[in-house]
Assembly symmetry: C2
Homo-oligomer: 128 residues x 2
DNA sequence: TTCGTTGCAAATGTTTTGCACCTGA
DNA sequence: TCAGGTGCAAAACATTTGCAACGAA
């Protein structure tokens, strides 16, 4: 593949993702960026998101419900997913990288990473 | 919702899932069950899988690549996912439920479960 | 000029659903 | 009998891709 070239669309996507601290879907990002570049297409959003994930600039979060989420925070951290509203939230907790070593002992392959999703009902949904 | 009624299709799906120890997609299950009930439809497979997941008879595994996988093994265990062939494999390892307590301390909601996916290259793919 | 990028639309892959008929209890 | 289950096909989603035009280097 060739060298990356600047694109205001891509820049805008990554900036937006950094500005909002949450974990929007491609479509949510599309709707947001559209307020600045009304002509941007959903395809461009998907193309750039996938490119940014590939170069490690952002992270993709796949959940059992609905579309994939994207995260500008690349430092390792875990997520809480609400079973009711399906929102994905950051989870501040001490490092648990030791589980990788435990998993590696009888693993069917060499482990180079992991993701943990914690499930439950979020505070907002508990109120209702 | 009303009471469950016996159906040979559902029975066949769950038996098949228990027989093969792997984690097939809905379509793989469809193709397998079709050898016994050639008239079964993909819709029926999806409907039953989702029903079985809801009553806790089986488990659904969502991965970043491709269709969801299904697992007849309901006792808690973790999975290894190959970044190359995207196969999902069981991972025998000591219990790490303690991470739930750690996560719960500053969680944005009450945690009632979690899933861990370990990533890497499986033994088969390493050979190639 | 070159080649990555974009907008648009069509295509793909996965999963859900409406409906008329079938079947277990 | 009758509510749940099924097959079929269409619909609903989420995501990818072909292509001609555009734009950064």
């Amino acid at each position: 593949m060739g060298a990356l070239k600047y694109s205001r669309q891509r820049e805008s996507i990554i900036e937006l993702l950094r500005a909002r601290g949450d974990h929007p879907t491609a479509d949510m990002i599309y709707e947001s960026v559209r307020q600045i570049y009304p002509n941007i297409s959903l395809g461009t959003v998907y193309r750039n998101l996938s490119l940014l994930v590939n170069i490690g600039e952002i992270t993709k979060i796949s959940t059992p419900e609905g579309a994939d989420r994207f995260d500008a925070r690349t430092s390792p951290h875990n997520h809480f997913i609400c079973r009711k509203c399906h929102n994905v939230m950051d989870l501040e907790m001490e490092n648990i990288d030791h589980i990788m070593e435990k998993a590696g002992r009888r693993s069917p392959g060499v482990i180079d990473g992991y993701t943990v999703h914690f499930f439950g009902i979020c505070k907002e949904c508990t109120k209702k």
